[in-house]
């Protein structure tokens, strides 16, 4: 039937260059070439993509792997079918004048963290480092960070979570000299977890029609990513076109695209099993309060990327 070619993708944030590959594929007709009719649903502060998937509001979602694995443990069997982001853009950004030089210096400091399923990497990291997160003298005080970098600028927090491609740039935009900041990239700290991957519900993957659809989707999406990486300015322009709020600036999106390209560089879309295992180990290592309690089984499939790459 006609639905065989319909795909709805739930993003995990509002329209921005973070999702350029998909918008480019849509705009350039790559999906169309594959015979697909793709709808992209932007996310927002109040949207949990796994929940949307569970409710049937979307066929596939983008999600951070910690969040997806946690959802899996909660009984929502989501499966990674492709992983366009190969490295993590997450980092902590601190004021240098707070005296923070290493992870140990976090003790007694206030740190802004995103919640809503995005807190897992931080919590794993802290528990691996043996730093309690419940305030107190030698633990960190955690703030639930809003959607902006104000807690840092107002010095309410000593450090905040930033993405290399977005919030960090915003801090600089506010006039802050990079020399006044110290950053801790999760990649560098060895606690990186996989970010924006493509997930589908397990039950759907038993359906060959769905699988075929996904193969075509991933192939077209990766083509979009390739194009976006190579044509940063144009990709930013395309994002601007799809941004319905009319509030984004092209310069910011171009910068974001430049940073995003570093994270997707070299990805074929296929999940790197080693990176997967590293993510799982990080999450399992969470001491008394691990994000996931058991080695996940069947949390990914390479079937689709295998087919797409042929």
């Amino acid at each position: 039937d006609g639905h065989a070619n319909d795909v709805t993708l739930q993003l995990q944030w509002v329209t921005q260059a973070q999702f350029a590959g998909y918008y480019v594929a849509l705009d350039k007709g790559y999906y169309e070439e594959e015979g697909l009719n793709v709808t992209i649903l932007p996310g927002g502060p109040d949207i949990a993509p796994p929940q949307v998937l569970a409710g049937g509001g979307a066929d596939i979602m983008l999600n951070w792997m910690p969040s997806a694995l946690a959802a899996r443990e909660r009984g929502l069997p989501v499966v990674n079918i492709a992983q366009p982001f190969v490295s993590s853009g997450l980092m902590l950004t601190c004021w240098k004048d707070t005296g923070i030089e290493s992870v140990e210096d976090f003790r007694g400091k206030t740190i802004g963290v995103w919640f809503f399923g995005n807190e897992y990497p931080f919590l794993s990291w802290m528990s691996q480092a043996g730093i309690p997160t419940d305030g107190g003298e030698d633990g960190v005080t955690v703030l639930k960070q809003g959607f902006n970098v104000d807690p840092l600028l107002n010095r309410e927090a000593d450090c905040i979570s930033t993405m290399t491609y977005n919030e960090y740039g915003q801090v600089l935009d506010a006039g802050v000299d990079p020399d006044d900041l110290v950053t801790f990239k999760y990649e560098d700290q060895g606690v990186a977890t996989l970010e924006d991957g493509i997930y589908a519900l397990e039950e759907n993957l038993d359906d060959p029609v769905f699988v075929d659809k996904m193969v075509r989707f991933v192939r077209a999406s990766m083509k979009g990513w390739r194009y976006a990486e190579e044509n940063v300015e144009e990709a930013a322009a395309i994002i601007m076109e799809y941004d319905e709020t009319g509030a984004q600036s092209e310069a910011a999106q171009a910068r974001m695209m430049g940073e995003i390209a570093k994270l997707t560089q070299g990805s074929t879309g296929a999940l790197d099993i080693a990176a997967y295992q590293r993510t799982v180990d990080t999450l399992l290592a969470g001491g008394s309060d691990p994000v996931i309690t058991a080695e996940p089984v069947g949390a990914y499939t390479t079937e689709i990327t295998d087919a797409a790459l042929n």
């Binding site: 502060p45 109040d46 949990a48 509001g57 959607f147 902006n148 006039g175 509030a247």
Partner: protein, 307 residues
């Protein structure tokens, strides 16, 4: 329009307080900025300044007051910044452009109006049920009150997902959230209104041996009109708030809520403020529209307006 002068006075006072507050509210950010541009500020380092209160910092650095009014991402934008942004996004771009606040007003407005329609209709029906059915009166009213103590922003994503799972998307989910906020004032007002005819009025119809429906259409309904309009005015601003709240869990694609959110996330507070004022102005216009309909309707019905 005899109240134009008093309103203007109050507005001027508020603007004066606002303008005066801009300096202390923004002084820390401004001092940081000035410090980075090698303008002399006391104390010299951001850390030291953190220990100084806003007012005394402002008094120590009178030379940078001017800068507090022109920051790109102020804590408190100055009135003229907000006014300029409003002007820019209302008058200098085509209303169909995504950069136009009119466009976003329309997006929010469409959900508001649909939600208001649903909410008002549900409120009226519920009120009729409460007035005519003793069981409903006793069972439903406490729950209607309770329903309003539940934070809508917590319910909103669930509503969206549940509706999404049965295939309802687009305008309707937002409208339903908006309806959730607007039905309550309508129920309360309408119950009061339908019960406003006194015993004598009801007895009069009884002496005519009038039927139940006749009593409703000829007495209770027209008698409830002033109450209905009073609660519709509250309901429509609640609807607008609901529509804006509903924009966040629906992908914040467009509308006042999306503008506020995006302005906040990308460090453009002036955008947020402009959207905020845009929303309040829209609410005022909606209330004015209802007042106009009220005056027309009640006028035609021959009822005098209470001042």
């Amino acid at each position: 329009m005899r109240s134009a002068l008093p309103i203007a006075t109050v507005v001027v006072v508020i603007f004066a307080i606002w303008t005066a507050a801009v300096v202390p509210m923004n002084i820390h950010l401004t001092a940081d900025l000035a410090g980075r541009q090698d303008i002399a500020v006391t104390p010299e380092t951001p850390r030291e300044r953190q220990e100084v209160g806003a007012i005394s910092l402002a008094l120590q650095n009178t030379s940078i007051w001017g800068m507090t009014y022109t920051l790109d991402r102020p804590n408190l934008p100055s009135p003229h910044q907000v006014a300029a942004e409003l002007y820019k996004s209302v008058f200098t771009v085509a209303p169909t452009s995504r950069r136009s606040l009119i466009y976003h007003a329309w997006v929010t407005l469409s959900a508001t109006l649909l939600g208001f329609l649903i909410g008002a209709a549900a409120g009226i029906l519920l009120a009729v049920g409460i007035v005519y059915n003793r069981t409903m009166d006793k069972a439903v009213m406490p729950w209607a009150i309770t329903s309003q103590t539940i934070p809508i922003l917590a319910l909103a994503p669930m509503v969206i997902v549940m509706l999404g799972s049965i295939g309802v998307q687009g305008l309707l989910p937002k409208a339903i959230i908006s309806a959730y906020l607007s039905f309550f004032p309508v129920v309360v007002g309408m119950v009061k209104g339908l019960r406003s005819p006194d015993h004598m009025q009801l007895d009069l119809l009884h002496t005519y041996n009038a039927s139940g429906p006749q009593a409703f259409w000829k007495l209770r309904l027209p008698g409830s009109m002033p109450y209905l309009f009073a609660s519709l005015k509250i309901g429509i601003s609640a609807s607008l708030v609901g529509a804006i709240v509903g924009e966040l869990p629906t992908g914040a694609r467009a509308g006042f809520g999306a503008r506020m959110l995006v302005g906040d996330q990308y460090g453009q507070p002036i955008l947020t403020w402009a959207a905020l004022f845009g929303a309040a102005i829209t609410a005022a216009l909606l209330v004015a529209a209802i007042s106009l309909i009220e005056r027309k309707t009640l006028g035609r019905m021959g009822m005098r307006m209470a001042a």
